[in-house]
Symmetry: D2
Subunit: 401 residues, 4 copies
């Protein structure tokens, strides 16, 4: 066992951190100003385009993508430390490096399961950040953590498929630049439980696609990354070749997509926790109450220590998970992926909550990034199935032995 | 000891509950529509005026105010159950009954410490809900839980006082109807620790009063109740008779104001918790996942049970605190007031958080009131000093014996 | 609602407290010496007999028993505060007042369901503390929280019943003075779920009764109150008139026994928590580390405050439960009884654990009562069904509405 | 970074596990029988001697000791997995491999700081398990986590040192085979804070050494490993050459001893947690309640999952700490050592507590090892300073940046 970081990862992580400090953090207030100036706009932010141009020039681009089709060819383990850096500024850093969800997951799906034509049409422009995308899986009327609940239908009709249903929490879809939607639905509701679903590419401008409304997370509309849309698909017709993989392969593709998606979220979450802790520390050292610095209060010390312990232990678990994905494959890393999916967001939630507490009123306002980080991490405990579903599944496996 | 509820309180509580169900809950979507239709407006909502008219006609008016100067003359214990009912809809029910913070606290200050002229000018219109008010205590640059930190100055200059300083989290102050501000500042920074501060009435339209900006709470602007303002007081001159009580009495008045303020918050918080639990139960019974109702999942049962236990135990502690305030006075109820100030918001926060979790994505969106309730209760753990200050103070008293 | 304590309860509670401080606490080291001197003895402690004589003379006797058959006729609410006092010294105070489990529950069963002959033979000497008793319900081979699991058989054979089975955690049964066992078993395994069980009186010296071994709790053998026995009943024959109530009434009698049993446990547990807190406070004030008293450490203050809050809130819930039992009956107080059964022991467990922590090594040793209090309260979370069974049941009821 | 285990460690760990399963676990009831048969005996257990003979023959001997003076020369990282295996049976496995505290720490002190003569006289027989030893640091009258509190004096008098003071929690010292005590005391109370203490070798049979009494831990006397003694040193005279290192080096030696001591405790604690989890799983699968296996109850699944997550994350943190000690030295691994000292025992305590809960009454009795494991892990949270001292120190360092 060897806990030292390999050279390439260290070098890229250092470069990413320099970029974060030099370009991304200073751009945060610029983004806020753009958002305030155009309250009805959902994308096309100049500050993001500027960051992307610079990051790409520095080789900080598409680092998430394994293999050589436009990606950097990093292992999950190598990418992990870089992803953590981007978690310090989740609104700007991931997108600056073209490593932001849901585009990353969508690019992976196209890379792994797409036809050459699908890649040319959608993957290539995504890799160049010319377009953005959305992933349409969750539905408003059912518990989507149970995939058999999905109600959207994808019916074959001659050379076309007809998509009918309603999705929500389609992240990024409010952004007009999100040109392509990957939609999950049932091609065969009578098939075996895990062979009922398929995924299909639905261009945004297809007739019958209707953006119903944006959703908010706590009070945030998340316009910086295209918000979260409720979308109606009313008998939407797309060419049959838009299907990704075979009919019935939707569940398997979703599973394949989830592993990397979850670990990326967890890597970034560690970075969010580190930023919250850094903010807590800075505040505690600067603020006085009852004749001494907050940093001298026992409770603040305890919180700082607990945060450090949690971040160290969970970072290692994330890194080991990445290493397992690299060495034995995503499927055999399932237990660990589930473990970090449960453990990381809630630990980071606590860290952010305490950082808020140390900041007093400033902590819940927009004067610090903490409240918005909180809203983001809180949602992670629901995305891709609530914690409780994963705990139950992990526990069942453990009890089976 | 007798745990039965007295007749008057029971009758008023029943009436309040009927009003809540018949008028307030149906008005929630109406308020949402008004807010959406006028995104730059901070007050004057028609739906609130309508509710107030009806509530007043039903005698559900100013119930919070002890004594007979326009109040209902209820004891704290009698009012407690009614206040709990209003917590079910914190945006609408308290204001409908003219029992909303910060007006309640401000009316109490005027009632208890105001001159006849001050009462005539400000208390009477507040009791009739013709105007609203704000309380300006917290400052952006210091830890306000330590009152000696307050930087705002109130200097005597002939027949006037000159107020200079900066306040924030002045709740309600974005609403143009908030005609009067009660401002806390130092008249004598050299006096004894608790004799430095005074309170003074500053009409909104006084020259030098400048609303700097609204603050948000987890993305919410709280426009329904006039938001939270940062306010600059640049050499604001008011007549000397605007001082409330004597010079140096500010700390004592603040303490007197805090007791009832805190217990009202806690009473309402119990109602918030009950609503969250009711929503959790309704959702759990209606939603299916993995072949059974969420209500059949062990974890949801556990959450419902824990919520019930917490609400029952803490309600009793709130009621006993009210009874102590009624029988031995606010000062001798300090331990209990501190105890509920700490215990109630965090317990209710957990209940709301779990209700969110049971709702999945809907829970963090605006499709349920949960996320906004969460933001509200979370802020309570900071308002009037963070939990930790109260824990430390309560613990010190306990250790002293 | 009225939180003042009635005169009779206050007077008796004061007397009990005076007795505790004057007689019981000083007797603790005497008991330790007796226990150390006779390591194989399980009962007949002189110090207990002395305390009983004195307590009885002071009228502090059988206070737990409602009604007038030898009891004090107190309501549950009146008894509650006295029971709390006895919790300060659970090894000596309850037994000193003849208010110790399992005798109290057994006396209640005889009082409520026994025949005149059963009362004369067993209840009267128990009320005079001439004998002691045990309750034989839990079995080693099954989850006894589910009464249908019970394996002990009680078969009618002519004028006799034949009892066959194995019990454990029969508290007090190692004491040779425990002359009578109340045994729960199945008279009709084919009957309805709650009509299968019966209770029967089995004198200790009946042939076929075999004390298998004592059980320990953590490392404690609890010889002070007769330990906990595993007992084999090998075709034990008793007269048919030893049956308590009718055949099939065992479950109902058990339920009737459990309500008061649980509330008594909770009342005493509050007293255990108060003692642990008092010990924590004394230690914190006397011990120095790193240049200041432990009482000046933030974390100790926080623990003292949390303990105070928990004890105040839960005491009220226990008292309200007692009041409900008095006013609407045990059955309609079931929710509250379940709530305190869950909430009180675990809260007190935390308080004791923290008191241990403040004491350092002394806390886990026998130099303070804390470790033994811990073992006692920890076991309460298992006795009469584990917390989780009660949480699930309470949650189900709550979800049903 | 590479999470694969190196060959030598894997091979030794496998061998240790085979030994555990084949020899140690079957020896547990044998030890219980020996303990029961001789209630006044504190050492010299035949079953331990048998295990030691066999383990030594298999090369499972002194694995803890780095370097080549009788040790196996393993790195901390290599030893970690083996130590974890021994945690499954803390009463027997560590001592079987001659890797039990406090002997390990004492051997390290002698190995690192002892003279050739001290090594020949005490280290060699310890390495051969011919004698045992004790470490006398903690004192009954002061908070020993603050080393400046230590009251024991070590005064030079000609060719001798005179030791006066009182120690307790001297683990192993009740065993007559514990031939040598390492005693910490002050040679110069006027020196700098960290130069006041020295360590000295005091043979058990020196005049003036008086074993005052054994201490218990939650009712356990821990006779299997020599108990915990309170010892009076009444003007005990030893030759001056018994001093370890220089006068004033006691604090530094203690610090050097603590690092490995803590990580060994944590490694074993992981194994204790794994055993508790294994017992929980076995019980949950075998026990039925309310018509289904405990393993099908949501709460048991949740506990199993949480335990798995905690054990995986904390094991990694322990391993990384070992790796840091190996690569950058104990001093630069201080943060991590402190982190695991805090985090591991409390996580394992929760796991054991839940395993107890799943076992019902059996869990608190001696029918499973759980209650005794609990007592052991609970004490770890106090040994070498309570958690809170470490949290505060770690937090202070974190806040300093």
């Amino acid at each position: 066992m060897d806990f030292s970081v390999d050279e390439r990862s260290r070098e890229l992580t250092d470069r990413a951190r320099t970029f974060l400090e030099g370009h991304v953090l200073p751009a945060e207030p610029v983004l806020d100003a753009e958002l305030a100036a155009e309250p009805d706009r959902w994308g096309g932010w100049r500050v993001i385009a500027d960051l992307q141009r610079e990051a790409r020039a520095q080789g900080l681009w598409n680092l998430f993508l394994p293999g050589d089709h436009g990606g950097a060819g990093l292992t999950n383990l190598q990418y992990a430390s870089i992803a953590e850096v981007t978690g310090w500024s989740p609104r700007l850093a991931p997108v600056a490096f073209n490593c932001a969800a849901p585009d990353t997951g969508n690019m992976e799906v196209l890379n792994d399961f797409g036809t050459a034509a699908q890649k040319a049409q959608w993957l290539d422009p995504l890799l160049r950040a010319e377009i953005r995308s959305s992933f349409c899986m969750t539905e408003p009327d059912v518990a989507s953590s149970d995939a058999t609940n999905i109600g959207t239908r994808i019916r074959r009709d001659g050379d076309e498929y007809v998509v009918s249903g309603r999705k929500w929490w389609s992240t990024g879809a409010m952004n007009p630049d999100a040109a392509i939607f990957i939609v999950m639905g049932k091609t065969d509701p009578e098939a075996d439980r895990h062979r009922q679903q398929s995924m299909i590419l639905v261009p945004r401008d297809t007739p019958g696609v209707r953006i119903v409304r944006p959703l908010s997370v706590f009070g945030y509309d998340d316009r910086d990354h295209g918000g979260h849309a409720e979308i109606a698909f009313d008998d939407v017709r797309v060419p049959a070749e838009n299907l990704i993989g075979d009919e019935g392969s939707g569940f398997a593709i979703a599973q394949a997509r989830l592993g990397p998606g979850r670990i990326h979220h967890c890597m970034r979450a560690i970075g969010m926790g580190e930023r919250a802790l850094a903010l807590m520390i800075a505040r505690a050292n600067e603020r006085q109450a009852f004749g001494r610095s907050l940093a001298d209060q026992g409770v603040v010390r305890e919180w700082a220590a607990e945060a450090r312990i949690q971040l160290e232990a969970l970072r290692l678990l994330v890194l080991k998970t990445a290493w397992l994905m690299d060495t034995v494959g995503n499927r055999r890393a399932m237990t660990e992926i589930q473990a970090i999916k449960i453990a990381v967001p809630r630990a980071v939630q606590t860290i952010i909550d305490r950082a808020i507490q140390v900041h007093g009123g400033a902590g819940v306002s927009s004067d610090t990034p903490l409240a918005e980080l909180y809203a983001g991490i809180r949602s992670l405990r629901l995305a891709d199935g609530p914690d409780e579903v994963h705990l139950s599944s992990l526990g069942r496996a453990e009890l089976r032995g």
